[in-house]
Symmetry: C3
Subunit: 262 residues, 3 copies
């Protein structure tokens, strides 16, 4: 695993264009800014091409879109494919809401994305595997998570990150499992969105998206683990600011020391 | 007062659908997630029915809506009434802006809601009682707050929570006053919105909305008081994260110890 | 410099109407509320006139607008000019996106504003001076920042605040430079938006906008410096909440003690 991509990210300071979820946008912007990227957000079609051209990557969070925003999302994805800028997609709640699942599958069928990052309920829904998602939460299912993630990666020819207690990263063949975890991630609603946007930062500086996704997941998970270990009790509200603190402070050496994957 | 509804909430982990105020949505989502509910947000009409069906309750914050969002709000309220899901309404600034007052009264006249939660200026405006509200703040008036809240409860056949230095909860006949308070609530713009959404969580697990609203107010107020007491000076910015910390940490015993109501 | 305008602000508690950037709106609302103003936000045209009439000032953040929001922004600016309410404009990323630059120049050509606050890349773009902006960041250029800011002030007959390592405030003739700084401002995406809205608060209580802008900048910069000095390492995520803490705690004496300008 190329953990020193973290240094590359900070040297290159990539512009990370985010079509964001309005629920978590502030923390996401601060998180990736603290990490070392330069976030920019937009909801306007007329600047879509300019945004894509200046960006090193595009992260599209489908956490709370309207039909109108969907038009802008399609436009941005079209330009991203045209200008060969990698796209990360976060398919929030597609496991729970049929409308979201349909729109998301339509987008993924038409455009080429670099990485899909969701919880296992969302990954299963897109892969067409039975799973009982619960709202924005993963819920429970009986299928094998690794096979489910691989199925989705092969369906859309992209890297898939299925995050949860263990994070699974696959390009459809090879699989990396990351075991760094903290219960605090579930207590903080920005965790998933911030992880997706962190992957967006790394695919902006590394063309091997499978490598980029691995580094992003390990950096993010270790940062969260470091924060959680420093707390004597679970501080659900303080976790967010302290995670952003750590995304700035963490270095390659710390990530290498704590990284737990196979 | 059924303070152990807090345990029920955490056991049932209700899905709390929030049509939120974009100003405070991130803290509201984190607050109710920390408390023990599962928040989900949406602004799209096409998924309104699916959202209502999966949700245990709906909280509608009228803090910053547009005409377009109003259509979605009406659709959501219609489905909520159809599927018998309780609605909590937060009528932000209806005391200061005639347009908001009119739209809000129209909604309340057409749909059945479980609880209205506002400051006394907002409650007075909806009740048709003279009051000088100031922007998003309560302002000052000479009418009796308890009678004003009862008038509104009877007008729309629902529970009314008029929050302020003393919080008043009424079903139009019975009245509970909660005295737990902190000046920090006024320094934190998310306080009112988060209280409304907390009430939303409790009406999702308790069919007696008057009981649910009481528990919600006491849990929320005690949590804020505990945080405020732990500070040696008023930390307006740190209060938000620490309130979210406490909404997760607080238990029935602590609420019972500090609860101050009659 | 009239540093005691801070006391005036807290006595008068002005209503600060903000058309905000959805990325940072929560922190901006909390920041100006903590400082001593009463924030109110709206995106709806139908309440534009009521909002402007009740407000003491209007801050318009062009950080992430859509064509639709632009209609509302124009309406608000028209009413603000009609009712003689001062407008502060924050032209986010006009140095990087041609579409934003054009829309912003159109607005500024048609309406009279009190203050423009941007980084030097944004100020240069509006002034028509060559500069290499980088996304939302200032980037680098070879022109003289003071002359660039003066040029813009004379172009639109308003006060210009060009913020950066040194903050420049000019009415087109006189120039004040503020040297209070902290690297943490760059690590926190809300810094610029919050500074613009802080200026909005002060122009709501002081008709001499050049004086109001100076006080706003010095109060804000000193608050940030006080927070930064209290940290043993740069906490990118904790800086936001602590800056809001300090905006409430800071007093005229502290600002006078640390203010560093000429």
């Amino acid at each position: 695993m190329k953990i020193d991509l973290l240094d590359t990210l900070r040297e290159k300071n990539p512009i990370a264009f985010n079509i964001s979820n309005f629920v978590t946008v502030q923390d996401v912007a601060n998180g990736i800014n603290a990490l070392g990227a330069s976030p920019i957000m937009s909801e306007e079609q007329n600047e879509a091409e300019a945004m894509v051209k200046m960006a090193n990557s595009i992260t599209i969070n489908l956490g709370a879109f309207t039909e109108q925003q969907l038009n802008q999302i399609e436009t941005v994805m079209t330009f991203a494919n045209q200008y060969h800028k990698p796209i990360v997609v976060d398919p929030v709640a597609v496991g729970a809401v049929q409308y979201r699942l349909e729109r998301c599958n339509e987008l993924l069928a038409q455009k080429q994305v670099a990485v899909i990052r969701g919880n296992i309920g969302e990954v299963a829904a897109l892969a067409g595997v039975d799973w009982n998602a619960k709202g924005i939460d993963a819920g429970e299912g009986s299928s094998d998570p690794v096979e489910t993630a691989k199925k989705l990666a092969n369906k859309y020819h992209c890297v898939v990150v299925a995050s949860g207690k263990t994070d699974i990263i696959t390009n459809g063949e090879a699989v990396i499992r990351v075991f760094n975890e903290s219960d605090l991630f579930k207590l903080y609603v920005g965790s998933g969105d911030m992880l997706s946007s962190t992957i967006g930062c790394f695919v902006g500086v590394e063309e091997d998206y499978f490598e980029a996704a691995q580094t992003a997941v390990v950096v993010f998970d270790v940062a969260g683990e470091v924060v959680a270990k420093s707390m004597s009790k679970p501080l659900a509200g303080s976790f967010g600011p302290q995670l952003i603190d750590e995304l700035h402070l963490i270095d390659v050496k710390t990530v290498e020391k704590y990284a737990n994957f196979e």
